[in-house]
């Protein structure tokens, strides 16, 4: 038999060496071809008398196996996302399909014998050892755990983990069963519900692996073990097997664990991630029954998750589209890849300092220019602070940190820019200041250098008028704090050429952030959506809705912080100033949004300006204690006797984001649903479980979205009216994403 994805070599001892090595891929993953090949290999190992045992290893330098091909999983789920009953998948058939992996692993470890034949009839399996050369994640780790013995390379980079939860799934190849049976319920639950990897030492302490040996000896050692142990069974196939650290779910010691695990999971995820509940259920139910029943239960919960649109949404946005964006999907074709070695950062304020840090961190030289040497130095000091903290916490080595700092040159001298490959301007948001800086810079830089402006309010096309090379002028909009916020908006102006877009994307790829390309309009994308959302919360306060209800409901939706707390962070004062300047700018065209008086009262009359100015909606105890709602708030904005239901508040906060995001899509401010979804999740922390606002609209159904928005417009105001494009889509039965 020939295999496409692996090789099988039988040695003179009758030990089969199975080397998994997917063609044209840098990393092994479970896909349809490997499943077919490996299933055949398992049959051969079990049935071929010439084979006495086997060693499974990987042919990839990059590691053992990274799990399943997410594209394969992402496409398995329900396709009729728009209909309210999206259970169009035949779940029974899907279960049979998803159970094949468990069956295959089970056959490998039992040698095809039943549990009874092993526990009572003395039957054993042929020994199978894993020779693990590098990281084994998800289905990769599950394959390792189905082997009877696990030999692991001493390479410190080896990692083990089951990260499926991060895309709304569970480890469906026996992970929820073998891990607790080896490592105990608590360790297993931590690994599977958090999805974080562990190193070899920890894996050995957890009893997930048996031996750590020098890298070049993994196969030899694995073969030695196979030769020495001709008859084996897994611990759970032996009579009297007991869970480590206490019995299964019915053991009194497990009761406390499950009670606490369920509460902690609910506390952290607000019922938004069914995968976490399913993982705990698999462990609870699976630990009460025999192994063969347990893996069926696991595959049933796995089927349930795969059939739900949530995992598809999460896989699509958080992995497939994120990676595509980071790999430069929006990059114009035919432009040669730029080799950015040195970047000039103009302005050493908070944004400029942050940009200098991440740029130097990515290995590029930085010239950090400010009009005052002290300011420039202060900008570099920002990096120094982060580096020192990192060294102290052992996150960065001292040499690496020093290297990073050595790459930043603070200066007032524009001449230092003469050999940079890219300019990022982050000076004061004043057109005149920017115009001056652009002129000074273009006077010294090479003729072909791209000039990027990190403006958040000024149109790029307008700024580009100050440039003598408008085709090389573009916007790169960072978020604050720059080193923490993962999203970057790239804004081509009317005249920006392909090379400026390509360079901007190459730069963002180097600093490892997620880019979206957006249209050159006031506020771009994220700053068009967030203010109306924050305003909605203030309008609710004005109506007398309990402030705790507002922020708690946002958290229930899956937002990282409530809108009132976020308003305190961004500062009410800034909101007030922006409102004043917009009023001034637009004159009689200004359309009030209802929060004007309230902002004025909070900021001017009551001095509640925000977190950094002594408090806003919340009080911030000076001793660093937990923030709490400002008790005076209800004196000025009395609570209504009738409070809305939590569902109503949640819906209002959700639609206060969905509607402006939909408007941005309808107006072409974001060019596709992918960008709208990425920008929302990575820009302002929009509930990741939804896959983003566009994915969410597909999931609830465009028609349902339009109907709900219209009814909310009648209840709360016209701002909730859906864009016409969505009304048309609803009529035509269209969805934002094409069906998978």
């Amino acid at each position: 038999m020939s295999y496409k994805t692996l090789t099988l070599e039988l040695d003179e001892d009758g030990i089969a060496l199975v080397t998994i090595d997917l063609p044209d891929q840098s990393m092994n993953v479970w896909n349809g071809e490997l499943l077919e090949d490996f299933s055949n290999v398992v049959d051969k190992i079990v049935e071929d008398d010439a084979i006495k045992g086997a060693v499974i290893t990987s042919g990839k330098e990059s590691g053992f196996m990274a799990g399943a091909d997410l594209r394969m999983l992402g496409g398995t789920g329900s396709t009729k996302s728009g209909s309210p009953n999206s259970g169009s998948t035949d779940k029974g058939a899907l279960f049979e399909q998803l159970f094949t992996m468990n069956k295959m692993f089970r056959k490998l470890e039992t040698g095809g014998h039943t549990a009874k034949e092993m526990t009572k009839g003395g039957k054993t399996a042929k020994p199978v050892a894993a020779a693990v050369n590098g990281l084994a994640l998800g289905g990769g780790l599950e394959l390792v755990l189905a082997c009877h013995y696990k030999v692991v390379s001493d390479n410190p980079k080896v990692q083990f983990g089951v990260p499926e939860v991060q895309v709304g799934l569970l480890p469906g190849g026996g992970g929820t069963q073998r891990i607790p049976r080896l490592a105990g319920l608590q360790n297993a639950a931590m690994m599977a519900t958090q999805g974080k990897p562990i190193d070899s030492k920890t894996a050995q302490a957890y009893k997930l692996i048996d031996e750590i040996v020098p890298h070049d000896q993994i196969i030899t050692k694995a073969k030695e073990w196979v030769k020495a142990n001709p008859k084996v069974t897994q611990p759970w196939d032996k009579k009297g097997f007991k869970f480590p650290g206490g019995g299964g779910a019915m053991d009194p010691r497990s009761v406390q664990f499950f009670v606490a695990a369920s509460a902690m999971a609910q506390d952290k995820t607000s019922h938004n991630y069914p995968a976490i509940e399913s993982i705990l259920s698999c462990m609870y139910e699976g630990s009460i029954v025999p192994f063969d029943t347990a893996i069926r239960i696991e595959s049933k919960y796995f089927t349930k998750l795969i059939a739900d649109p949530q995992s598809r949404n999460m896989i699509r946005t958080l992995f497939i589209n994120k990676q595509a964006a980071e790999k430069g999907e929006q990059r114009p074709e035919g432009v040669a890849k730029t080799n950015l070695k040195k970047v000039g950062v103009l302005g050493a304020g908070m944004m400029g300092a942050g940009i200098a840090y991440i740029t130097a961190k990515a290995g590029m030289e930085v010239v950090l220019i400010d009009r005052d040497q002290d300011y420039a130095e202060k900008g570099k000091a920002y990096s120094q602070k982060i580096v020192e903290k990192g060294v102290k916490r052992g996150k960065v080595s001292k040499e690496k940190g020093e290297g990073l700092l050595a790459r930043i040159t603070p200066s007032t001298d524009y001449d230092l820019l003469k050999d940079v490959d890219l300019i990022i301007e982050a000076v004061f948001e004043d057109p005149d200041v920017k115009a001056d800086v652009i002129k000074k810079t273009e006077a010294v830089i090479k003729k072909d250098v791209i000039f990027a402006s990190n403006t958040s309010t000024l149109p790029i096309t307008g700024l580009a008028k100050n440039s003598s090379r408008a085709d090389q002028f573009i916007g790169i909009h960072f978020f604050s704090p720059v080193d923490k916020m993962p999203l970057v908006e790239i804004i081509p102006g009317d005249l920006s050429g392909d090379r400026s877009l390509a360079t901007a994307l190459d730069y963002v790829a180097k600093i490892k952030k997620t880019p979206i390309v957006v249209k050159d309009t006031r506020g771009f994308y994220t700053n068009r959506v967030v203010p109306p959302y924050l305003n909605e919360a203030m309008l609710m306060i004005k109506e007398g809705v309990a402030p705790a209800l507002i922020d708690n409901c946002a958290k229930l939706l899956g937002m990282p912080v409530g809108p009132l707390a976020l308003t305190d962070e961004t500062s009410l004062e800034l909101g007030y100033m922006l409102m004043q300047s917009t009023k001034k700018e637009l004159g009689k065209d200004y359309r009030p949004n209802g929060t004007e008086e309230m902002l004025e009262k909070m900021v001017i009359e009551l001095g509640r300006k925000g977190r950094k100015s002594g408090g806003g909606f919340y009080e911030y105890p000076e001793d660093g204690g937990k923030k709490y709602l400002w008790p005076g708030l209800s004196d000025h904005f009395p609570l209504a006797d009738d409070q809305p239901s939590a569902d109503d508040v949640k819906e209002r906060l959700m639609y206060a984001q969905l509607i402006p995001a939909a408007q941005c899509f309808a107006e072409g401010i974001v060019f596709d649903p992918q960008s709208a979804d990425l920008g929302a999740i990575f820009g302002w922390g929009f509930a990741p479980w939804t896959g983003g606002p566009m994915s969410h609209i597909d999931t609830i159904g465009v028609e349902n979205f339009v109907r709900t928005a219209e009814s909310m417009a009648q209840r709360y105001g016209e701002r909730f009216n859906p864009p016409n494009l969505f009304r048309e889509m609803a009529q035509k039965g269209e969805t934002l994403y094409k069906a998978a």
Partner: protein, 402 residues
């Protein structure tokens, strides 16, 4: 429908529910056996005429498992014809057992029954039976499960009970229990517990602390704060009650019910049974009811159970002379008084579980006896007995002296 009457109530004293408690050496089945012996001997019962014995027990596993009531019936030397059942409605099990025993008489299925309960908390700890409600993640997620202490703190947070409010209630409970004990108000029902050689090991409720005051309670740390904050329970509670900013942890060992060992029995029968045994009916069981309520806040059921049983009885709250609500936690009683508009002087007049303890499966039957003794002592007529229940339930029973 046949009338059902209470002919007698007996109980063991409540022993401190720890290994150094006076009842720790006595088996649970012995506690149950001794109350069954007591109720037989005090009333000269022909046990072949007992149609059923229902006992509450909340952790019916280990030595409390396998229908402990039947074991106790046989152990007490009852006629083998007397059947037995074990009932679990968590904290109201003892009252529910009384209600079942009553219902059998009222429906005509039985002439003479015994309701009661047993819980030996020092030997079979709370939670020994595991169970899906708290343990199965699918159930815990769907019901937003939190432990009772968190639920009690949630009641206090939602209805604004301060630490002083709950502590003041606890001080009063101790004061009343202490006074009732010293005046001998419990004597009529208490049956001293004897060991295998016939010596009395306990003849009074063991955990009352007469000297309790605000200062001594003030020194106690909240029992559920760490659990609520570290294990996510506060978060779960707030997800169900998002209008609250936080859970205010006010309960501690001094204002919550104590863990104790004990058993109780209530003799119930129709008129004819009383005549046959030459017994005088002490009270008529007017009506009973149970309800389910919101399971996360869990312990607000008594209000709804009380309203339901009053309605079924065609009565109003003004018809009730004495109220008895199990003192699971101080906030449970404070909320009930508020919701029902009841004066503190009319409820839990002899103190309650905060002072004397709450032997889970037995308490309902015990406090039925306490309140009946008190009606007789004061010459009053009608009482309503109720308990809050895990999982969000309430059970209530109205009795009336005849």
């Amino acid at each position: 429908m046949t009338e059902a009457f209470i002919y007698d109530t007996v109980r063991t004293p409540r022993g401190k529910g720890r290994s150094d408690g006076s009842l720790h050496e006595i088996t649970p089945v012995q506690l149950a056996t001794q109350v069954l012996e007591g109720v037989r001997d005090r009333n000269n019962l022909d046990t072949s005429k007992v149609d059923d014995v229902a006992f509450g027990c909340v952790s019916p596993v280990g030595e409390q498992g396998a229908v402990i009531t039947r074991a106790a019936v046989l152990q007490a030397g009852y006629s083998q014809t007397a059947p037995a059942i074990q009932v679990n409605r968590f904290c109201a099990s003892g009252l529910e057992a009384v209600n079942i025993a009553t219902a059998k008489v009222k429906s005509g299925e039985a002439d003479l029954t015994i309701g009661g309960g047993v819980e030996h908390m020092s030997r079979v700890p709370m939670g020994s039976d595991g169970g899906a409600l708290a343990t199965d993640p699918a159930v815990a997620f769907k019901s937003y499960f939190v432990p009772q202490g968190i639920a009690a703190d949630l009641i206090a947070s939602k209805y604004g009970h301060t630490r002083d409010d709950v502590d003041a209630y606890a001080v009063e409970s101790q004061k009343r229990a202490s006074k009732a004990q010293s005046e001998g108000r419990f004597k009529n029902s208490i049956l001293p517990v004897r060991d295998v050689i016939g010596e009395t090991v306990l003849d009074h409720d063991e955990t009352i602390r007469p000297g309790t005051d605000m200062q001594s309670l003030g020194a106690l740390k909240p029992s559920f704060a760490m659990m609520g904050e570290n294990f996510g329970f506060d978060g779960v509670a707030l997800q169900r009650y998002p209008e609250l900013e936080k859970v205010n942890h006010v309960h501690h060992a001094g204002n919550s019910s104590g863990i104790v060992d004990g058993a109780a029995a209530v003799l119930i029968g129709n008129k004819e049974s009383g005549v046959r045994h030459q017994l005088k009916p002490r009270a008529r069981i007017v009506a009973a009811a149970s309800v389910g309520s919101e399971p996360t806040i869990m312990l607000t059921g008594p209000e709804f159970a009380a309203k339901k049983v009053l309605e079924r009885a065609g009565m109003t709250k003004d018809d009730i002379d004495i109220w008895e609500l199990n003192e699971a936690f101080a906030s449970v009683v404070l909320r009930f008084m508020d919701a029902m508009d009841i004066d503190h002087g009319d409820i839990n007049v002899c103190g309650g579980a905060i002072a004397m303890g709450h032997p889970l499966g037995a308490t309902g039957a015990m406090i039925t006896g306490v309140v009946l003794d008190e009606l007789e002592r004061t010459g009053k007529s009608t009482a309503l007995v109720t308990l809050c229940i895990g999982g969000g339930m309430g059970t209530a029973t109205i009795i009336e002296r005849v």
